[in-house]
Amino acid sequence: MLTTEFIRKVQSKEVDIVEHTAAVLEECKKINKEFNYFNVISEDLAMKQAEDLRRDPEKPLAGLAISVKDCICVKGVETTASSRILKGYYPLFNATAVKKLIHDGAIIIGKTNQDEFGFGGFATNVGLDYPIPLNPFDKERATGGSSGGAAGVAQKLSFPHVSLGESTGGSIVNPASFCGVFGLCPTYGRVSRFGLLDYGNSLDKIGSLGKSLDDVALVQKHISGVDRHDCTSLDVPVDDYPKFVGKDVKGLKVGIIKEAFGDGVDKHVENKVRDGIKKLEEHGVKVEEVSLELPIKYGIQVYYLIACSEASTNLAKYCGMRYGAHGKLEGSFNEYFTNVRSNNFGKEAKRRIMIGTFARMAGTRDAYYIKALKVRTKIIEEYKSVFKKFDAVVTPTVPILPPKFDEIKKLSLLENYMIDVLTVGPNLAGLPHLNVPVGFEKNLPVGMMLTADHLQESKLLQLGGVFR
């Protein structure tokens, strides 16, 4: 059943939303036992929402199940971003994106697993005590990250459902690619960040993942817009996104980024993405090769400098007071904070705090942090000049097929970070980007990434519609 039809049936009470929601939650529990996608299944909240909705079903998203990445606050539901340092934190408010969805009749089914605070590209850097989510197509492989649980559940759940994810350097499209679903990361500021646990404030975006691009477009429309609680949210009208999915693409121009193919890209991935590009051409899209050197050559360094610098300041607030993990009140305040932080942050959180602290230190700040902010300007300018000629650019989303866990363990830290090589560019420049599943190789999904100019989400949905 199409989601629009499902919503209509909930509105007209042809579908009993209480019974339906109970069935959705049962399936979530079953999936979770096997795949570790949820940190919390919010049964009480979901059932209460379903009962309220049964009484008053005239809502535009009536009954649509939504899972929420754990770094996004849901009132009264434990929210930890998969970090032990936030264990026991129950937000007193909903994130704006969540508030809007609840207002429009969507049902919140749970909080999804992720790399701790978003620190990873495989969802293997979950915090202490959290299980690693497993790829829906092969349990020996990674879901991708950091929104690994979100992408996994988007693939596995059989009911109408969309996952809310979050991306700082590729955390929506990367797991969407590894799990074979659509994933849309919007323009920076398009969706309010109020109620999102910050990783890098100048990079974080809330977006959506789902098996159906129409559903992704629908949810994206409902979460977008200006918000007085987030002064970086953009005061620009929101397009009617669902109308663009399926719209004729004839005459649109797409640039194939030359540097994103060849060395370091798995041949199987490249072939499938080339097939995807051919499909666009068959539908009348004009394609042409284009050079975009800076984001791929220097993006990783710029991204890790900026993201870790911002993360190291953001994570300073986690110190065992006010909320989350506490310790025994003893020693000086520095000793107390240090003990709580050392005992509760996972290894990758510690490493990124260290990298960011190093980059902002007296003596290194100008050479590293400020330099990265300048190269970022040049990266943005390079994209802007390409979008004068093209409606979108295309690359593989991730250069490899979903790897096995024992393969990931063998990577050096820098090799591990290189998984983001194709996704950091649009994230640094705040550009909307979409993962499109383009087929399977060795029974594993391959994703193609489309990137457009600021606020051109509609064009991505239009182009993605060719693959729905």
């Binding site: 009140l329 000086s332 590293y368």
Partner: protein, 94 residues
């Protein structure tokens, strides 16, 4: 850049982290690899280039300076284990 155990310990102290011996041993070569790679940016000419603290143009957002409803004191304290007489109780400051 000389990334050695001494530097790692210094940065950890600044970041209010206490690393055990194993972590220091593990992190030192890992962070050296990443920090060394940052020098790659020296290849990019940035004379006269402005910084981009945000990716899109952001304007100041102002509102009337009026008192509005905020979290109740009880709610603000609800997530804390350490509280006393309606206040957070923190570690010793002096």
């Amino acid at each position: 850049m000389d990334v050695d155990e001494k530097l790692i310990e210094h940065v950890a102290t600044l970041a209010r982290l206490k690393l055990n011996k194993e972590e220091i041993k593990e992190f030192t070569p890992q962070l050296k690899e990443v920090l060394d790679s940052f020098s790659k940016l020296d290849e990019v000419k940035t004379d006269g280039v402005d910084i981009s603290p945000q990716p899109v143009e952001i304007r100041n957002v102002l509102r009337e300076d009026k008192v509005e409803a905020s979290l109740a004191q009880e709610d603000a304290l609800a997530n804390s284990e350490h509280k006393k007489d309606g206040y957070f109780k923190g570690p010793r400051a002096v």
